[in-house]
């Protein structure tokens, strides 16, 4: 037994689905104004079909929507009837064809899949068709993928044209079409003709496809006593994360973003009574301990301004990772370990002071960028250079976080490259110059030795960034002092100051 709900124009989206879910978990959202539901087994709970229909109508009225309700043995019959008749309609099982026989044939355009998906104007009501207010809307609004079109635009027009053909044959009601011999209809209209005829008889072309409700991965806990310290919050978060993690595992999902919402006790000096933090996770994570640690470390860095009386944890789900390990490979740390480590390091050193360095495409000396440390789950190819171990498979991220152990014989560099130890803020020094070249250097800082310049090379002039607030324009020198230390020295041309940029080491 199936029921159909049809709402008036302007029905808020989701209301009919909510009403239907109060009666059955198996519902199909046809359009925002049309919902079908499987009523099998509900007679023990609510009574007979008419009682169920009255219940549904009353529930919808409580939500401010006046709906039509039809109950029949098939979904097609219920859909046709709810489109045609106002109020409550209940058809006894087995009498669908007889009940539908008197209905106008143009009703089929309201439920035929191809006709619903086509954007053509429906037949006008005066000729037995539907008015604009009853025009079916495309099915994609309910979140499901649109139904399959079977061909080109010409083929999409076919259902309307075929219906016109039926009307030219003199068929005015569904009963007229249902009474025709099926083989004759098939020989003239093909497979589509038999589909029209099955609909006219109230037969379902396919089983009901239940709509899966949007799952929320959220846990909340009301505290009996407010928490003022972060440490006791650890136990609360642990208690919330365990079922959340189990839920994610059950659905094969991982957390992409972790939201922590703390309802605070109102105090005089604090206007905001809700404290929210969101953590963007570099990898899908569902390990309860890792999530708890990350949330705690973040709250330690950003403590709430008042005591907490309610804790809510929610995650944005994403498909989980599939990790394939190998006996022949060296394992890298798991993303959970890396995420926890990075959170701890950022809490210790500062959020912007940990990560992977990035070379910036610029001539400005010393410029660099930072990015989150996320070593790709890639390996080296056999030439030891090109990583290629990352692939997508059925929408899931499959990675092989390993390095083949046989790749030990990598080509060694012929000669090490001299490194510069860079002073992030160049150090002012006193320089004596002879003939424009530095001859001796004196520093006022401990640890930076001065002395006579033994060898020097330069100057190399660089400038740039004149369009920015801090341009650079300078002469660079490499100088070796008699003590053996080799510096990168620079002279700012606009201020004529001498600065140490770094030491070669």
């Amino acid at each position: 037994m199936f029921g159909a709900l049809h709402g008036p124009e302007g029905t808020p989206p989701g209301v009919l689905a909510d009403v239907a879910r109060e009666f059955s978990p198996r519902i199909e959202i046809d359009t925002p104004r049309d919902v079908l539901l499987d009523l099998s087994g509900l007679t023990r709970l609510f009574g007979d079909a008419r009682t169920i229909a009255e219940h549904m109508r009353r529930t919808a009225a409580d939500r401010g929507v006046r709906v039509r309700v039809a109950i029949a043995g098939t979904r097609t019959a219920a859909r046709l009837l709810v489109r045609h008749r106002a109020g409550l309609t209940v058809v006894e099982p087995g009498t669908e064809a007889a009940t539908l026989a008197a209905l106008p044939i143009a009703l089929l355009t309201a439920i035929h899949p191809d006709a619903v998906n086509s954007q053509l104007p429906p037949l006008d009501h005066a000729r037995g068709g539907l008015s604009d207010s009853r025009r079916p809307t495309p099915n994609s609004q309910d979140g499901r993928p649109p139904r399959r079109h079977r061909g080109t635009e010409k083929n999409v027009r076919d259902p309307i044209e075929q219906l016109s053909t039926l009307r030219r044959w003199g068929l005015r009601t569904l009963g007229d079409l249902a009474a025709l011999p099926s083989d004759e209809v098939a020989s003239r209209l093909g497979h589509d003709g038999t589909e029209w005829q099955r609909l006219a008889r109230g037969e379902d072309p396919r089983p009901l496809v239940p709509a899966v409700p949007e799952e929320r991965f959220e846990q909340s806990l009301e505290l009996e006593w407010p928490i003022e310290e972060i440490e006791p919050l650890s136990f609360v978060l642990g208690r919330l994360m365990e079922p959340l993690s189990a839920h994610l595992e059950q659905r094969d999902r991982g957390a992409a973003v972790l939201h922590v919402r703390l309802d605070l006790v109102k105090t005089a000096g604090v206007a905001r009574d809700v404290f929210e933090r969101s953590l963007q996770l570099p990898f899908p994570i569902r390990d309860a301990r890792t999530l708890r640690t990350l949330a705690l470390l973040d709250l330690e860095s950003h403590p709430p301004p008042a005591a907490i009386d309610r804790v809510t944890v929610a995650v944005d789900p994403t498909p989980a990772r599939i990790v394939q390990w190998s006996l022949l490979s060296r394992a890298l740390p798991s993303p959970e370990h890396i995420s926890t480590l990075m959170a701890r390091l950022q809490a210790l050193m500062g959020e912007t002071r940990c990560g992977s360095p990035v070379v910036v495409d610029s001539w400005q000396p010393g410029v660099f960028a930072m990015k989150p440390f996320a070593p790709s789950d890639t390996s080296l190819s056999h030439d030891g250079r090109q990583p290629q171990r990352h692939r997508e498979h059925r929408g899931k991220n499959i990675s092989v976080p390993s390095v083949p152990l046989w790749l030990t014989a990598v080509p060694s560099s012929p000669m090490p490259v001299v490194a510069l130890r860079r002073f992030r803020h160049p150090v002012p020094v006193r320089v004596q110059a002879e003939h424009g070249r530095p001859s001796s250097l004196m520093s006022m800082r401990r640890g930076l030795s001065g002395g006579r310049v033994e060898s020097c090379a330069g100057p190399w002039r660089t400038s740039g960034g004149w369009w920015e607030p801090e341009p650079w324009d300078r002469d660079e020198w490499d100088v070796a002092l008699t003590g053996g230390v080799t510096y990168r020295l620079l002279r700012e041309r606009n201020t004529n100051r001498w600065l140490l940029e770094g030491v070669f080491d």
Partner: protein, 267 residues
């Protein structure tokens, strides 16, 4: 013939990993296994080290300014990242030049860079500035406090990275820390670091001016460098690189030797 009771006792200690606390029961370092070594990919040094620096041990690169410490460290990390390992660099005073690291061949995606606070040596006190030296708010004191804090954080960060595991190379840069502040580090720090990496694939490297940890299982590479120049005339002169003398010091004299390598400038 060995006393069976002593053998049983030593076996029990070894099972509980307590044998390394007994100097006479230290097991021989199995350097024949290539997987227990982390090569630098510098042929002469690797030959001198019999394959590379030992994994699961704390080693040191020590030497004065411009001795080639950072060059060798970046070379070491470049070799590790080329093998697909990940490396961590605890940069106590924020001295890493990213361009140098890239030029050395370090795969930056596989490098975890932990930047401390950039502190450069405090101002030298004036000879007649006694009042300034005693002033609690003097810049010298402030720099010293900041440097102490940076040192403390760097050691904590090193501990976190080692505890996390999975890194092929973990290096901490203490080259610019004054000796006075290095001496204030508790002497238990380095045995604890050694203990944290024992039995793991991680090679921990300490970058210092003077040998500091002197780990029993690790190696100390004492470096001395001299810059080399090209060009006869003043105008054509340019920095060519450096000749770096490496002296390998092993606490148990198992590996000793000297080697000189030549480095080059990237420009």
């Amino acid at each position: 013939m060995t006393n069976p009771a002593v053998a049983v006792l030593q076996s029990a200690l070894r099972a509980r990993k307590l044998d390394r606390t007994l100097t006479d029961a230290l097991p021989t370092l199995e350097r024949a296994d290539p997987s227990s070594l982390a090569p630098m990919d510098v042929a002469s040094i690797d030959a001198c080290l019999h394959g590379g620096l030992p994994r699961g041990q704390l080693s040191e690169l020590s030497g004065p300014c411009s001795s080639g410490r950072t060059t060798l460290l970046l070379q070491f990390m470049a070799a590790a990242t080329r093998r697909g390992e990940i490396a961590a660099y605890v940069d106590t005073f924020d001295r890493l030049d990213v361009a140098s690291a890239a030029a050395a061949g370090v795969d930056l995606d596989r490098l975890l860079w932990i930047r401390g606070q950039s502190v450069i040596g405090d101002h030298k006190p004036r000879s007649h500035g006694g009042a300034e030296e005693n002033n609690q708010e003097s810049p010298c004191l402030r720099v010293s406090v900041v440097r102490d804090r940076a040192l403390d954080r760097a050691l904590k960060a090193l501990n976190l990275v080692l505890q996390a595991g999975g890194f092929g190379i973990v290096a901490i840069d203490l080259a610019d820390a004054p000796p006075r502040e290095l001496r204030q580090i508790p002497f238990t720090t380095w045995p604890r670091v050694q203990r944290a990496i024992e039995g793991r694939d991680t090679a921990c490297v300490l970058l210092t001016e003077e040998p500091l940890a002197r780990s029993a299982g690790g190696l100390t590479l004492s470096l001395a460098g001299r810059s080399t120049w090209a060009g006869d005339s003043i105008r054509s002169r340019r920095l060519l690189g450096a000749d770096v003398s490496v002296r390998v010091v092993s606490p148990r004299k198992r590996i000793d030797g000297n080697v000189v390598i030549t480095t080059r400038c990237s420009h």
